[in-house]
C-alpha cells in the first residue's frame, strides 16, 4: 500500500506573518495571497510535512470536532494551496 501524500510548504513561497494572518507570494506571481483564520492555522501546522489526515486531525482538535467533519474542507484547501504553488507534495 502506498504511503499517503504529505504536504509541505514550498521553498519558493515568500511568506510574512501579520499577527494571526499569513501573506504569501512568489517570483513571477503578481498577487499576494492573504490567509486568515483556519486557513492561516493550516499553514502554520504545515511547518512540518503532514498528510491531509494529520492536518484534519489538528484542525478538528482545535474545534473540538471529529476529524471526518473537517476532512473534506481540509483536503479541498490543501488542493487549493497546491494549485497555487504554496505547498508541494512529498512522498515520505
Amino acid at each position: 500500500m502506498n504511503d499517503p501524500i504529505r504536504f509541505r510548504r514550498s521553498a519558493v513561497t515568500l511568506v510574512r506573518n501579520v499577527g494571526a494572518e499569513v501573506l504569501l507570494t512568489a517570483a513571477g506571481n503578481d498577487d499576494i495571497d492573504r490567509l486568515s483564520g483556519t486557513a492561516a492555522a493550516i499553514w502554520h501546522v504545515l511547518e512540518v510535512p503532514r498528510t491531509s489526515a494529520e492536518v484534519a486531525h489538528l484542525v478538528a482538535g482545535s474545534f473540538g470536532e471529529e476529524d471526518r467533519i473537517v476532512m473534506a474542507d481540509v483536503e479541498a484547501f490543501l488542493a487549493e494551496l497546491l494549485q497555487r504553488g504554496w505547498v508541494e507534495p512529498v512522498s515520505r
Binding site: 510574512r16 499577527g19 494572518e21 512568489a26
Partner: protein
Amino acid sequence: MSEPPGPAVQGAAPRSQPDLSSTIRWVAAFGLPEAAVGERTVASGVWPATLAWLGFQRLTGLGVAALEAGALRLGDAEAEQLLERHRGAMTVALQIERCLLDLAPRLESDGIDFLVLKGPAVARAFYPDPSWRSFGDLDLLVRTADWQAACVALAKAGFRRQLPEPRRGFDERFGKAATHIGPDGVQIDLHRTLALGPFGLWLEPDGLFEDTVSLSIGGRAFRRLDDTRALLHACMHAALGSRRVRLLPLRDVAQIAGIGRVDWSELDRLAGRWRLRVVVRRALDDVQTQLGVEPPPLARRLLEAPIDRREQRAMAAYLTDRRNRGGTALSTLRAIPGVRSKAAYLRALLVPDREFVMARDGQRRTPYLHRWLVPLRWFASSRGRGSRG
C-alpha cells in the same frame, strides 16, 4: 487577494509628544535578551502619534511581536490599526523580495555578481521571524568593475535611475550608490561601497565579496555579508545614515551583535584598517543610549582602541549641521588621495553635467550658483574659526 500600490516612500517625521519616544524605544528594543522587559499600555490619546512613529521608524513588526506576546497592551481598535499598518509594510517587503527573485537571473546572465545587503538579508539572517523587520527598498552591492554593467542591466529590466551621475566616471571613483525605481515602484539602491564620503572611500568594497555566506530567499541561494561584516555595515548605516536617530538601524546593530556569529577580533581589525572604529563606537554608544543594550564584553577591545584624528574629523562632518552645508563633500575631498583625483571630484561637484543639474535642481535659473556658494561658505567659516582662534 489584492495588494496596495508599490512601496511607499517614507515621508516627514511625525510630531513628537511627551512620553512617546520612550514607548517607541521600548518597542524598538522588544525581544532583545538584554533589553528591559515588562509591559506597556498605550493610551488611546497618544495612540495615533505612536502608530505614526512606529510606521515612520519601520517598527510595526516589533510592535506586532510585542502585541502578540502580550507585552504591548492596546485596545481592539488600536491593535487592528497596528496590524493594518504592518500588513502594508509586509506587502512591501514581499514585493521587494519578489523583485529580487525576478531580477537575479537577469543580473546573473549578464555575469554580474552581487550581494544582498540590509533589509531582506538582515531580516532573514538575524531576526527570529523576518516579519519583525520591515524594509522599504532593496540594497545590492556590486563590484566597482561591474557598476556600469549593473546599471545597464537594471535599465534593461525597466528600472529608471533616479539621478544620473554628476560627471562620467564619478560613480566608480567617488560614489556610494544610485537609486533605481522599477516599473512597479520597487526601489533598488545599487551600491558600489557601503557609505558616502570618506568612510566609503577608505573601505575596500570589492574585498567584501570574499567573506560572504549563503542566504536563501524563495528557494534561491543568494550571497550576503558574513555576520562580522554585516555588523560593520549595520554600524555604518546606524551611525552615518542620518543625523536624526533611526531606531531600526540601531536595532539591527543590537540584533546582529547579540544573535550573529561575530568575530570581534576580525571586526576590530577591519574597523582599524578601514578607519571605522569611530563609526562602530558611535553605533554601539547609540544602541546603549537609545535601546538600553550594553555592548558585548567582547567589544571592549574595539571600544578602548585609540581613534585616529582623521576619523574623528570625518565623523563630525556627518553628525553636525555641517552635513547639510557640504561638510560631507569637504571631508570626502580630504580623503581622496592625489591632487588630480581631488580636482576631478571638485570639478564634478562645481560643474556637474547639465543632465545631472536638470534632474537634481530642475529649472533653476542659476543652477551652478548655489553650488559655487558652498565652498565660499567653507572658506568664510574657516576664516571665522581662524579669527576666533
